[in-house]
Symmetry: C2
Subunit: 163 residues, 2 copies
């Protein structure tokens, strides 16, 4: 088994994986948000939805899905709960009945104040310098953009089959 050429399985060692620390780091970040968001009565995913709404007031479901990289199977129940909590409303677009318009309520708007100090608090948990935050931000977005593009090519690329 170990008579292979040396390093044949080096890439499989956990220490040599780039993906694992990113994956573990993301989970750890969500966990750091936990206590702060509990005060707001939100989960991390619900908080992401609220971030978008605090910025735009209204958004259609399709755009929300694209912005947050979440599909409808995830968003539908999340939006139902936030609607149930009175933080947003869901209504069909009169112009196109397929589209769902999500709108921030007054109660949802009030949460914005409480939430304002959360990002800084969580950033402090991570122990990175400003410069490191900047690097991490750019690297994550660069990888994200590349993978996003790949996905589009592979699903939209069906047309390429026929030349």
């Amino acid at each position: 088994m170990e008579n292979e050429r040396p390093g044949a399985y080096e890439a499989l060692k956990l220490q040599n994986q780039v993906c694992f620390p990113v994956y573990a780091c993301a989970k750890e970040i969500v966990r750091q948000y936990g206590p702060f968001l509990k005060d707001l009565g939100l989960t991390y995913t619900q908080y992401l939805v609220m971030l978008v709404l605090w910025e735009t007031e209204t958004v259609c479901s399709r755009d929300l899905s694209k912005k947050l990289h979440l599909d409808y199977g995830t968003l539908t129940p999340v939006l139902k709960r936030l609607d149930g909590a009175g933080l947003l409303t869901r209504e069909r677009d009169p112009g196109d009945e397929r589209l769902l318009t999500i709108r921030l309520t007054e109660e949802g708007r009030r949460k914005k104040e409480q939430a304002a100090r959360v990002p800084h608090a969580v950033a402090g948990c991570m122990g990175l310098t400003m410069e490191e935050f900047g690097q991490l931000y750019l690297l994550a977005y660069k990888a994200l953009a590349h993978m996003e593009k790949r996905n589009e090519e592979h699903t939209g690329g069906k047309n390429n089959v026929n030349g």
Copy 2:
């Protein structure tokens, strides 16, 4: 509402969050693994467990939990499935009946060959240079280490209540 001092809510904009691209990037990475791991008959979490076993042959449940940053509520069903698939065995440590010893089977060992090319393939999906991979790796581990330390301080810190 917008009469606040300018920038009071800047930190709440999705674009200004560092956490979001890391979170989205991690999910996107797991998705990129999908097709490759499907050939192996593994999910991403199951693959992580196998990575550890391919390296160490045996591991106790506590160490696995710490290495992968996963608690028993997550690991127990994952290990059950991998046991059911014949890739590992679970047995109690004779010396300490609380400990669970997880052992790679011959069938599990065979999967290692198929898996050997997966890391490189996924790395290619991310579109980063070698240098960028190195940076991302270091930044993620640095943040991870800092948050890990914080967690220990806060749970072990119960004793501080009594002075």
